[in-house]
């Protein structure tokens, strides 16, 4: 009797839950690693979300979701509460995304910067940020007087190493004496640490700073020190108007709108997207005129050539730090090599944290 009552209670609870989650409206959910006000990575994803909203599709976001136990619950809750398409926008959500996807075969999942697509309802996407780094390297190589470029890096994953290498290769092409100094902060968003790292690099003689982290602290530090810097993820110009030469912009909006509409119309299918300057997922903010009209022209030309494919960021000969050949003369690195990149090219100082 008592046991039966319990059983009824549980099934009643389940029924109520399902009837609540039985929805009509198409909804898209977003999971962010940082606050939407970071003015970097998460900010740009949220701009993408707003574009989806502007296209007439309802969206929800959850910000500052920590990796680990919390991520899975948030993703699951979004799936459970009637979201039909869920973007998880940081690599640390990879396993959680795939785990939840298994339990919700009718919900579509899009995971940014990861490599696991364990179920047919999981797509992955990322942008070829390294193409932007090539332009930064060219500008930095021309402008540095100390031949030292400071680089604030987050985690030693291929995406970040790729950026460091692309920048260094481009800088070497215009200035063979270039040295890249790196400080690892082991965080995507930590304004305090990022500012300290910027200062440490400046103290070591860097007269140009760039970052693969999300806050505006490095460019602000550079502005105070009166040196050049580059913005990351979004146009950070207003935070350091004198210092910033250009920003690499992650423009997720077209992709998000396209995928959301496809999912709504039942045309979504699994894919692995890696778009760059050509498709507009990577864009450059207006170049600072202080770098000189000639250099602006060169940068714009380089941007065009990278987009058209005339120039590839990783064109041989490319050597590692010990002088071993990585890419032979006349060849370009294939995507497989780029995706697994875990060695520095010649000219980068220090070792990859291992």
């Amino acid at each position: 009797m008592y046991k039966n009552f319990f059983r009824y209670l549980i099934s009643a609870i389940f029924l109520i839950t399902f009837s609540i989650s039985a929805k009509a409206e198409f909804k898209v959910g977003f999971v962010y690693i940082g606050p939407t006000g970071d003015h970097g990575w998460t900010y740009q994803h949220d701009e993408g979300r707003k574009a989806v909203e502007a296209a007439g599709i309802k969206t929800t976001y959850v910000e500052s979701v920590k990796y680990g136990a919390d991520a899975e619950r948030v993703i699951r809750q979004l799936a459970q509460s009637g979201h039909d398409l869920i973007f998880t926008t940081s690599f640390g959500y990879m396993d959680a995304t795939n785990k939840v996807a298994k339990d919700f075969p009718n919900v579509k999942f899009e995971h940014a910067t990861g490599y696991k697509r364990e179920h047919s309802n999981v797509s992955t996407y990322s942008a070829r940020f390294y193409q932007g780094r090539t332009i930064l390297g060219h500008i930095a190589g021309k402008l540095t007087k100390t031949n030292t470029i400071g680089y604030i890096a987050s985690f030693p994953i291929p995406e970040v190493i790729r950026g460091i290498n692309a920048m260094t290769l481009a800088a070497q092409k215009v200035n063979p004496n270039i040295k890249t100094k790196i400080v690892w902060v082991f965080s995507w968003y930590d304004p305090g640490k990022e500012a300290e790292a910027a200062q440490a690099l400046i103290d070591q003689g860097a007269d140009i700073i760039m970052q693969h982290t999300d806050s505006t602290a490095p460019v602000q530090t550079a502005e105070k020190a009166g040196i050049w810097s580059f913005g990351q993820a979004s146009d950070m110009q207003r935070f350091a108007p004198k210092s910033i030469l250009t920003s690499i912009i992650d423009d997720w909006a077209p992709y998000y709108v396209e995928r959301a509409i496809a999912a709504r119309d039942g045309k979504w299918s699994q894919q692995d997207t890696w778009h760059g300057l050509k498709e507009g997922m990577v864009a450059m903010s207006p170049y600072n005129k202080e770098m000189g009209a000639d250099l602006v022209k060169e940068a714009e030309q380089l941007q065009k050539d990278l987009a058209s494919g005339k120039i590839h960021s990783f064109t041989g000969p490319i050597y590692d730090q010990k002088g071993n050949i990585l890419v032979a003369e006349g060849k370009v690195a294939d995507d497989g090599m780029l995706l697994g990149m875990n060695v520095y090219v010649k000219g980068v100082e220090g070792d990859i944290p291992k």
Binding site: T60, E72, Q77, S81, D103, P156, P353
Partner: protein, 363 residues
């Protein structure tokens, strides 16, 4: 001429019922305060509070998630109550959790491609020992070198996190993981058994419940518990009574560290299944709130861990359904602690407003 004089007096007779009632008052005040905040932010307060406190646990999955979140908080808070009751301010449970997870995770990685019934118990024991060792550092420094345990235990949190960073980026990182800062996934034998299919609640909850029972027994039924309580009330009395203060400090820190270490192991062998840099969303610090909200009483702590977990889950639900910023969850936790401390103050002290004529102040 009149002067207003405020006098603060200690109350001699604090009723026990009121003492245990104040946490509830604090929670009610927090809910009222939260409602006002929601209202000023432009949300319907009733609806917002519903999404905060009811929606998260309105189904079986939500309730299991509540227990999942409360498990480490409860476990750590039980350990902390031993320290706090005896006037030892261990603020570094987060570090002890992390170090316990490192040691336990190390054992799990040792057996990463093996199965066997003995693996999980080994990991659990390793985790407890890891936390214990890490807690012994501030304890030994306090007893033999007179350092301040608040500072030492807090600083060690950052040490443990840096050690974890080093390990998951370097020697322990998954060789097939493209350098992502995480280890391999543990084998199935290294994972806590799940209690129900498709829910994440795992056997770790029994460790927490056992800690509650053992904690209650030790604190209230043993000589050690008596020593701890007396030392907490008055160190001088404890000395007169001839209690060995140093040994007791070491013991309470070891208990506390072991509990935190177990919580860490529970997380990595439970919902996470590997080591990475963010194994704990500051459970070790939140557990301090839990311990005090639970009045340092093992059964009170169960209740408090559920309430505090609910503020976390509520913050997520409220964001999903109403787009209320996640940080309101932290505001809630802050408010609970504030109201609890404030009502404690009023409970233990009375404030008298005295109107005195000037001449009465004379001799």
């Amino acid at each position: 001429m009149e002067d207003l004089l405020i006098k603060i007096e200690k109350r001699n007779d604090v009723p026990t019922t009121l003492y245990f009632l104040t946490p509830f008052i604090a929670i009610i005040l927090t809910i009222v305060g939260g409602g006002i905040i929601f209202y000023t932010l432009g949300f319907n307060p009733i609806e917002a509070l519903k999404f905060y406190f009811i929606t998260p646990i309105s189904n079986l999955y939500g309730f299991s998630e509540l227990l999942l979140k409360a498990t480490p908080l409860c476990l750590i808070a039980i350990g902390l109550s031993f320290c706090f009751k005896s006037n030892n301010w261990n603020i570094g449970a987060e570090g002890q959790l992390t170090f316990g997870a490192i040691v336990g995770g190390g054992v799990a990685l040792l057996f990463y491609n093996q199965e066997g019934f003995y693996i999980l118990p080994l990991i659990i024991i390793a985790g407890a020992i890891g936390g214990m060792i890490f807690a012994l550092i501030p304890a030994i420094l306090k007893t033999y070198f007179n350092t301040n345990e608040i500072l030492v235990s807090l600083m060690l949190v950052y040490v443990s996190k840096l050690i974890l960073d080093y390990l998951v980026v370097g020697p322990w990182s998954n060789p097939e993981g493209f350098n992502f800062p995480e280890t391999r996934q543990f084998s199935d034998s290294a994972r806590m058994p799940l209690l129900f299919e498709s829910l994440r609640i795992h056997a770790g909850i029994f460790i927490a419940l056992a800690a509650v029972l053992v904690g209650w027994f030790v604190l209230y039924k043993t000589y050690l518990g008596f020593q701890i309580k007396v030392s907490g009330l008055s160190l001088k009395t404890a000395k007169y009574a001839g209690f060995k203060g140093k040994t007791m400090i070491l013991i309470v820190f070891m208990i506390s560290g072991a509990c935190a270490g177990l919580a860490g192991v529970g997380e990595i062998t439970g919902p996470i299944g590997q080591l990475h840099r963010m194994i704990s969303p500051d459970y070790g610090f939140t557990a301090i709130i839990v311990a005090f909200l639970g009045r340092l009483n093992p059964f009170g702590i169960i209740f408090a861990s559920l309430v505090v977990s609910l503020t976390y889950l509520g913050a997520e639900t409220a964001q999903i359904f109403l787009q209320i910023p996640q940080y309101t969850g932290q505001v809630f936790q802050g408010m609970i602690l504030f109201f609890l401390l404030a009502s404690d103050y009023l409970l233990f002290f009375k404030i008298k407003f005295l109107n005195l004529k000037k001449n009465e102040l004379g001799h």
